[in-house]
């Protein structure tokens, strides 16, 4: 059968890439509805504004595969954004950026310690941190919006607004980080340990995998991604309110799950998460372009997500309905 596809090859492809097929179908649908949807500047715009969500989703993918949740990323992103904006005017961007990364990594390390070493439930820990970090941000800023005073006189804008060889910098950062973390997850011993810990924690422990340290590192990676997202966000708008990341934790989680990562841990890939992020970004943009009445958009967004998940599952089992009624 050299050169040809057998039925089981196609079946295998469908099963592996169900979510990709769903993605293509939605893209075609939106293009039919508005021919501007596929215009290069629109595609570029959507990918650029999805980059912030995407960068955060990369880190959360690690956490979810390791069998945990991270609901604190939204308020942690607000924290990073506010801190870097505030420090920018006080100590200059060269110092503000590493200082912000250090502070955000401390938060990630703290969560990683609680979930990894103390074995506390990640839902409880990160849900609590969601409001704790929000409070921290408000205390830090006194509730005020942060703005860079001289927006025209700083190179800080490069991360959110610059472009290199015609590609916006946020997309480059997202791409590079995705390639790097994709490699870490797919090709390194650490990556295999993440799957092992999430797939069967007890078995992993008995195989001599340091479970606590793996979980800790996943949260550290997640906070690294959040700090990067905060940097892009701050640089993109050069000013921010305290609630800039509010609600993003659920969008991030939706993107990761949409990409096919299991909430129970042990499965998922960086590539699929990227598809999940793009689906969410293009749905939001597509519905705006179609000009749907906005109260209806919430409902339609939900319908599309459910359809995508259904298509993915149907492709995996090779039939639309569950074999077990």
């Amino acid at each position: 059968m050299a050169g040809g596809f057998t039925k089981s090859d196609i079946g295998g492809l469908l099963a592996k890439q169900g979510i990709l097929i769903a993605f293509v179908i939605f893209m075609i649908g939106f293009t039919v509805a508005n021919e501007r949807f596929l215009a290069p500047e629109n595609i570029m715009g959507v990918v650029r504004s999805s980059a912030i969500l995407g960068v955060m989703a990369l880190g959360v993918t690690f956490v979810v595969i390791s069998g945990n949740l991270d609901l604190s990323v939204g308020s942690m992103m607000s924290f990073s954004t506010i801190v870097v904006l505030d420090l920018h005017d006080k100590i200059g961007p060269e110092l503000a950026i590493p200082a912000m990364f250090a502070m955000t990594l401390c938060l990630g390390a703290f969560i990683g310690f609680l979930v990894g070493y103390l074995k506390l439930n990640s839902l409880i820990v990160t849900l609590g941190m969601l409001s704790a970090i929000h409070g921290l941000t408000l205390t830090y800023s006194g509730g005020k919006n942060m703005d860079i005073a001289n927006k025209g006189e700083t190179w800080f804008a490069v991360f959110g607004q610059g472009s290199f060889l015609g590609i916006p910098v946020p997309i480059l950062i997202f791409g590079l980080l995705a390639a790097l973390l994709g490699m870490v997850l797919g090709k390194t011993p650490f990556g295999r340990k993440v799957y092992a810990v999430g797939g069967n924690g007890v078995a992993a422990t008995f195989s001599g995998i340091p479970r606590a340290r793996v979980v800790f590192t996943c949260y550290l990676l997640s906070s690294l991604c959040v700090a990067t997202a905060g940097l892009i966000q701050a640089s993109r708008s050069m000013g921010s309110q305290n609630t800039v990341g509010q609600g993003l934790e659920l969008e991030v989680l939706a993107a990761v799950i949409l990409g096919g990562a299991s909430l129970l841990g042990g499965s998922g890939t960086i590539f699929k998460t990227i598809i999940g992020v793009l689906i969410l970004g293009f749905i939001q943009n597509g519905l705006l372009l179609v000009g749907l009445q906005f109260y209806a958009q919430y409902v339609v967004t939900w319908v599309i997500i459910i359809l995508a998940v259904w298509l993915d599952i149907a492709a995996k089992r090779g039939r639309l309905l569950s074999p077990i009624a």
Partner: protein, 319 residues
């Protein structure tokens, strides 16, 4: 002799304590429960200004509370204030509907209720003594007038196309500003069309996304009206990134970022609404009610138009 001394002493103490409590009773005791201090600069500044206004007035003492955006907590706070027997209660509603039963309770306890900043639903009006705050419908109309005047000056009032970025869906301020703008624009500039309205949720990043989509969808956009300057600046960023010049941006609630963009000539105008005025107006309304003055039910404080032409008359907003 000894007995007389004791008598004199006790009488003096009693007299002093009566005088003391009389002095305390002379002070008006006003309670306030705010919506969500710290969530944005407007509310933070309001809180600070209210406390300062109380400090500055020797006749007033205040119990200042914050509901943290939580309706249940606000209802509990109103009940607390009733228990503490304050003489008037000022409420910045977290939710226009859900607070009505608590407002009714205060009204029944004989405590006048003043609503500040955003009004409660009409069903609760009978329990409210006075509303003090901005007139959001007028603000929307004024924004429409600012935009129309500018279009006339540019000579494009017959062809201009406008997009609108509204506040959070379901939020009274958002609905009223949009209504004011939608109703007034066709009256002053009948040939200008509002091609589309989408919410920016009071969020700069979201508004930037919405504007990016508008810019892709419409080749011709002459004006953008945003429900506040924070969102307006998000839209402005999108237009700048796309290299689309010459768009007239009009907002509401002039923020420092909006003021700065006006200084640079990138943003045309807004509505000047000061949280300091808002807080002072609320306290003054409560004092006027307690002093028995006749007040209109809707006691608006003025929120004037601000554009690049007259901005030197206004100080830069602190938020």
């Amino acid at each position: 002799m000894k007995l007389r001394n004791i008598l004199v002493a006790t009488t003096a103490i009693a007299a002093a304590s009566i005088a003391g409590s009389a002095a305390a009773a002379d002070k008006m005791k006003i309670g306030i429960t705010q919506n969500n201090v710290g969530v944005d600069s407007y509310q933070t500044t309001y809180d600070k200004s209210f406390k300062e206004a109380v400090e500055a007035n020797d006749n007033v003492e205040a119990v200042v509370l914050d509901a943290g955006g939580d309706v249940a907590r606000q209802i509990a706070q109103i009940e607390d204030l009733i228990q503490q027997q304050v003489q008037a209660i000022i409420i910045w509603p977290t939710n226009g509907e859900a607070v009505i039963p608590a407002v009714r309770k205060a009204h029944k306890a004989g405590i006048p209720v003043i609503v500040t900043n955003s009004n409660i639903a009409e069903a609760g009006f009978e329990f409210v003594k006075s509303f003090s705050g901005p007139d959001n419908i007028t603000q929307g109309s004024r924004s429409a007038e600012i935009m129309c005047d500018k279009f006339k000056e540019m000579g494009i009032e017959t062809t201009a196309q406008v997009v609108q970025i509204s506040g959070q869906p379901g939020y009274t301020t958002a609905i009223e500003r949009q209504k004011g703008f939608d109703d007034r624009l066709p009256e002053v500039c009948p040939d200008v069309t509002i091609v589309e309205t989408q919410p920016g949720d009071w969020n700069r990043e979201k508004s930037q996304k919405v504007m990016e989509a508008f810019l892709v969808k419409y080749d011709k956009i002459d004006g953008v009206y945003s429900g506040d300057d924070n969102m307006g600046v998000g839209a402005l960023n999108a237009a700048k990134a796309a290299g689309r010049d010459g768009i007239i941006f009009v907002g509401a609630t002039n923020f420092a970022v909006g003021y700065e963009a006006m200084e640079k000539g990138e943003y045309w105008g807004s509505i000047y609404q000061s949280p300091v005025d808002d807080a002072k107006a609320a306290l003054k309304t409560a004092i006027d009610v307690l002093e028995g003055k006749e007040l209109p039910f809707l006691n608006y404080f003025d929120t004037p138009k601000i554009t690049q032409d007259n901005m030197s008359d206004f100080t830069k907003p602190v938020f």
